[in-house]
């Protein structure tokens, strides 16, 4: 399970960072989303991966660490709000600047 988890994290982060480097706002936002998924999974794993253990002490012999789960919930909420904001901002910028380049102007298109 650990190997699969680590591989998933790696793939998500790689894709996220690659998309972040792109020049269009939409792909950048996709990259941010993937990166925040990777980060949330990473936070979750910081309490160690255990299967079949509830996050309440005393319900079973083993129990999972509840704190990372609370942290991930907070991080998901904040990440969701930020993504919504950046989508609106990108739309606003695309309408006002008449293109979706991250710099607000596309050197190649403008020259043509």
């Amino acid at each position: 399970m650990e190997l699969l988890y680590a591989l998933t994290l790696g793939v998500l982060t790689t894709c996220g960072v690659y998309l972040l480097m792109r020049a269009r706002t939409f792909t950048v936002i996709l990259g941010l989303t993937l990166l925040s998924h990777a980060v949330n999974l990473y936070l979750f794993a910081s309490g160690r991966l255990v299967a079949g253990a509830p996050a309440i002490v005393g319900l079973s012999q083993r129990s999972a660490d509840p704190l990372p789960q609370a942290l991930v919930l907070t991080a998901i909420v904040i990440g969701f709000a930020m993504t919504a904001f950046v989508v609106v901002l990108a739309l606003k910028a695309a309408v006002e600047l008449r293109n979706d380049h991250v710099d607000g102007e596309n050197p190649e298109e403008d020259r043509a």
């Binding site: 972040l20 706002t25 925040s36 660490d65 990372p68 904001f85 950046v86 901002l89 606003k92």
Partner: protein, 507 residues
């Protein structure tokens, strides 16, 4: 338990929420609410300064959950200084905004209060994850404030600003996850103890986490490779917002002080040593780049943005010298530079409105109205900014240079700091002569609003007062530096049951 300590966070948060609820009520009511809340924050700041001045730590345990299980708020001298500075700066910006800027978009006052709540929370919290949450609160308020008023330049700058800060937040969470995975706690005091006792095989991971945190705070504070978002964002924001943002880079500096002088500072070979090693050269380069940027900028707002960068470089270089005197000097410079950066952002707007063409761009050479009054104000502010006597800039720079003599590296700081100061003087005198000296009088000057003019003059006057009362202020800051260098006191206050030696540390 003293519940007053949570007021600096709750009061602006509730005020902001109320302003959102009653946004259909008359605009004057929103303004009044904003003023009342911010004025109360100024009083709270004075209270915090006097309470923390006794040298005790004031602890607030949210929900009465004892540390390290619950979230604690901690008031020490550093937090009190930052609270008071934020409140005074916020009040001035709000006054300036009330001359009309606040009506150019929706919800200015509510966003302003949320921004203050986030700032105060970041300064008070004693929990690393809580610090992340308050960072997000102040950031999302700042995203919306930056865009206040609309326009193409703001959309462009806003996109860069938001994206780089979102990446910063992701990195922050990665560092937090690593720290929690290694130590099992996020309370700063508890974390400091666990990091100090960590087995040697964890050291590389801890160092990695500390460096990721340095990158995160470096984005906020605008250290050299991470500062290129700042000039565009700060020069695109409306004047009172940019003036409030003068404190935003200082949040990064505050976090660096708090984390690297507490969490990673204990133990036989402190984890923070790696970060301090990076900070010194980067800070000097930031300082140099700030000086060059000031000379090369094309408008007064961009010039001021580079002044902010210059002040960040100066601050971090002085802090990384690590002596008690240098920490105190850096804090004095922090107060001075925050005030003056705000003054210059407001001045750029004040002067730009009176110019016939070009707003605040240097390429325009048209005449300016009321040039005697405005010219005098600009002259006095430029003297205060460049660090010439009789203003606080001179006192702080003299103190920094004196403190840096104690260490061998200090001579580097002398060279770079004095060269940058010279560049600032050249840039300021060039601006002054081309705006006020060369062009003649304007035939029909625009009417001069007295309110903003008086406000900016008072802010420059405050800077003068800081120099006049330099002695007690310096005394307070020296005690603050001593408190910062002895993190044992902080840990003992948060975790009373843990015995800890109260020895001094040095970065």
């Amino acid at each position: 338990m003293n519940h007053a300590l949570i007021l600096p966070i709750l009061l602006p948060l509730l005020t902001g929420a109320g302003q959102l609820l009653f946004y259909r009520a008359p605009f004057a009511l929103q303004r009044l609410l904003g003023f009342a809340s911010t004025a109360w924050l100024v009083l709270m700041g004075i209270w915090a300064l006097s309470t923390a001045g006794s040298g005790d730590y004031l602890i607030y345990q949210a929900g009465d959950w004892p540390a390290p299980f619950g979230i604690v708020l901690v008031l020490d001298r550093l937090a009190a200084i930052m609270l008071a500075l934020t409140a005074v700066l916020g009040f001035c910006c709000l006054l300036y905004a009330s001359s009309g800027t606040d009506q150019r978009g929706a919800h200015f006052h509510a966003l302003f209060q949320f921004q203050l709540a986030g700032l105060n929370g970041a300064f008070l919290t004693g929990d690393l994850f809580n610090l992340f949450v308050f960072f997000e609160i102040l950031l999302i308020a700042s995203y919306a404030l930056l865009l206040h008023g609309g326009g193409r330049a703001r959309s462009r700058a806003g996109l860069h600003y938001v994206i780089i800060n979102l990446v910063g937040s992701a990195l922050f969470l990665i560092a937090l996850g690593t720290l929690y995975g290694l130590s099992g706690t996020l309370n700063m005091a508890d974390l400091a103890l666990r990091v100090a006792e960590a087995p040697p095989e964890d050291a590389p991971l801890l160092a990695a986490a500390s460096l990721i945190l340095l990158v995160v705070f470096g984005i906020k504070a605008a250290i050299l490779p991470l500062l290129f978002w700042l000039p565009r964002a700060y020069s695109a924001a409306s004047a009172p917002v940019a003036a409030l943002f003068a404190i935003m880079t200082k949040v990064g500096i505050y976090a660096i002080l708090r984390i690297f002088l507490l969490v990673f500072a204990l133990g036989e070979s402190p984890v923070a040593a790696t970060a301090w090693g990076w900070l010194w050269p980067l800070a000097l380069l930031t300082l140099a780049l700030g000086g060059i940027g000031v000379l090369g900028s094309d408008s007064l707002r961009t010039l001021t943005a580079y002044l902010v960068i210059l002040s960040v470089g100066t601050l971090l270089a002085t802090i990384s010298l690590g002596t008690a005197a240098s920490l105190g000097a850096a804090l004095f410079y922090l107060i001075h530079s925050t005030l003056m950066a705000a003054v210059f952002f407001l001045l750029a707007d004040l002067l730009g409105q009176q110019r016939e063409t070009g707003y605040d761009r240097f390429s325009a050479t048209g005449p300016i109205g009321h040039r005697w009054v405005l010219g005098t104000l600009f002259f006095v502010s430029a003297i205060a900014m460049a660090g010439l006597p009789p203003f606080a800039g001179f006192v702080s720079k003299a103190w920094i240079l004196q403190a840096s003599l104690e260490s061998a590296q200090g001579l580097w700081l002398w060279g770079v700091l004095l060269a940058s100061a010279l560049l600032v003087i050249i840039a300021a005198s060039r601006t002054g002569s081309s705006w006020f000296w060369r062009p003649g009088d304007m035939a029909k000057p625009y009417p001069l609003e007295r309110g903003p003019l008086t406000l900016v003059s008072i802010m420059v006057g405050l800077n003068g007062l800081l120099a006049i009362f330099g002695d007690p202020v310096m005394g307070y800051l020296e005690l603050t530096a001593e408190q910062l260098r002895a993190p044992g006191g902080y840990i003992a206050a948060v975790l009373p049951e843990v015995g800890i030696s109260l020895e001094e540390i040095s970065p």
